[in-house]
Subunit: 202 residues, 2 copies
């Protein structure tokens, strides 16, 4: 297997942290979106949506979508478990992973896409979207702070894929205009915990 | 178990079709977003995000996020299989389900939210977003048409949860300004196939 990667990308980082938690190392191919390498005819044969990461399988097929890649890795390398150990835990891990994706990561990405010069000419930008997205991201961080008052990790008492999604979102937000606000001590403590893991810089 | 439902909602429909495909019937509680019933203090205790559907479990916990609910139902009722039979099929079903969610359903929802009088005063509206979202939805439908030239269903040769996500997206799009465009015969044939299933009106 081979991972098409972009070092600075939020979604490739989700997969890299996941692999590091599993202790799995894969050969990687760097694709530079800044240089448009994700929009070449060659790359669009690998992923017609032009997105990263992509996992090239041993049979030559290409698997895209970060969480689909992570779940496949979990099937190949079950330990340490990151998606839940039984159907009930799996259900709540997925619930929280999707909440992190839809209600934290998505508005942070929207703020970035609609406000950063990086995206000018690459994606349509509507300046008015950015403050609305910031407000949504901040509301979700406040809600999370309340949740984390009574448990150490996003989906329960241990680190799971939902934490990986949330930490990659917060890292993007930190660098693009939706940083962790003051006055959210439980979320700040969680951020310290996940940031201290040896895999956080993967 | 008990399903908090909204008859007209796109996400509740995903779960209802999934349950119908499984032959599972659950007691439901109707929540009317039009009347703000999803924003009452009572409902926010059930789902702090104010969204539907929600599955109330027998232990009293509340499971949210359509696909987390569907995957939990799949674990309880494995047949007919709708998420894939082995890790490899599961990976590609999830890849396509997420592509349908992020690149088809999401722009259709964005167009609806930013252009429909229904959302006025309920969610911030930025008119300029709607045509951009329409363009993304149309691009994805065109891409899907090409994919469906060589297979009958979204993720392969049989009906899966990825078809349910796509058909619920297209049904929303049909009613809210991103209908199936002319000139996409393979997507139109697929739409006919999924619409003819006895579960399509669930």
């Amino acid at each position: 297997m081979k991972l098409y990667n972009m070092k600075a990308g939020m979604n490739p980082r989700r997969v890299r942290i996941f692999l590091a938690e599993k202790g799995v190392s894969l050969p990687t191919v760097e694709i530079d979106m800044g240089k448009g390498e994700n929009a070449t005819p060659e790359f669009l044969k690998i992923n017609p949506l032009g997105k990263l990461p992509v996992l090239e399988l041993d049979d030559g097929r290409y698997l895209t979508e970060s969480i689909a890649i992570c779940r496949y890795i979990e099937a190949l390398h079950p330990e340490p478990n990151l998606f839940g150990k039984d159907p009930l835990e799996q259900a709540f891990v997925e619930m929280w992973d999707r909440r992190m994706e839809h209600d934290l990561m998505r508005p942070m990405v929207d703020n970035f896409v609609h406000s950063s010069p990086f995206w000018k000419g690459r994606r349509p930008q509507v300046a008015e979207v950015a403050p609305i997205a910031c407000e949504s991201a901040n509301a979700m961080m406040k809600l999370l702070d309340g949740e984390l008052a009574s448990r150490p990790y996003i989906a329960g008492d241990r680190y799971t894929v939902a934490d990986i999604t949330a930490q990659c979102a917060l890292l993007l937000g930190k660098n693009t205009g939706t940083p962790l606000p003051e006055g959210l001590p439980h979320l700040a403590a969680w951020w310290g915990r996940v940031g201290a893991r040896p895999t956080a810089r993967a």
